[in-house]
Symmetry: C2
Subunit: 214 residues, 2 copies
Amino acid sequence: MRLGELSERSGVSTATIKYYLREGLLAPGRQINATTAEYGEDHLRRLRLVRALIQVGRVPVANARQALKHVDDDSLGLTMRLGAALWELPQGPEPDEADPATAAARAQVDRLLAELGWESAREIGALSPVHRSLVGLVALLIRLGYPCDAELMAPYAQLMHAAARLDLDRMETYASDTEKVELAVSSAVLFEPVLRALHRMAQEEESARRYGIV
Amino acid sequence: MRLGELSERSGVSTATIKYYLREGLLAPGRQINATTAEYGEDHLRRLRLVRALIQVGRVPVANARQALKHVDDDSLGLTMRLGAALWELPQGPEPDEADPATAAARAQVDRLLAELGWESAREIGALSPVHRSLVGLVALLIRLGYPCDAELMAPYAQLMHAAARLDLDRMETYASDTEKVELAVSSAVLFEPVLRALHRMAQEEESARRYGIV
């Protein structure tokens, strides 16, 4: 398809598509003459992902470019490719090592992973910004005087593990590794807010069941 | 305690405490003479909550003031008091009624609630910004070409219901309704990011188990 059709089918203006092409967020089309390029279904799919990242997720262009580079990097195994792509997305606060609450928080996160038997998460922990961000968040709660320890987090972590199994089952319905990683990245931006809304709605439902509506 | 001790124990500067007092986010202390007021443990607790909302959750001051008004409103039943306080917090996108994806999304959310038997969430739905925000998010996914229907959401909603039961069990360990609502509000701001980090970490763990680490 030509640029005009790509714009129409994606709902992204031609000016924005040209900007994404210049920024290297979208691969160039197949040049058919000096002024015209041809685009395929993979361009359309990638364009949706770029829009999800930039326009909806407000991910900075530099981070989006890095994430997409990892999406396309088939030299890595699937776990590291997923990790590398997702780790470019905005994370929670970095832990403040000067704060004594950080050491307490790290001890609780370590204990949590040990109790859950999450051996791989422990192993990846030294690399993973997700691990650092969890330590930072738990430290913040401790500093503000809200208790947050391994016992409190464990049952929630089990539920999140069940959610992760559903995520990966869904991912496996896609044929190529590139499409799998694309789904994971778009889900992190678009589906996490759905999960949060479902959580808040479940709180309303459960609260009404326990205490009535009025 | 005096202002200085309140500042020291909360880690909030006296200038910021005075600002919160002026903005009506914190009740005045008991005046013991023209220049000195006395503060209690309830001031300390409220100060932590205000800091969680404003400094950590980046909740606008006007929203925080409204949320706290509902926290203190003991004329309402617990469900509506919780709802009113939580509904002041930032939500997802408002649905665009002019977009045909919105009608499709609303139909999926209605079907989801019917299938789950979430009668109260359906009943509160017309009032609840959480319901509107879920419709807006699902419409966004549909518009971007990512399928999101009742079948896909149902197992996630069940997991979130289990999380909501844990939330409310924890809330019930607090004696007063005011403390219960305070915990719910602080959790929405501080614990939701922990849940998101646990979800991402569970994805890393599950991915490593299925596909290896390298």
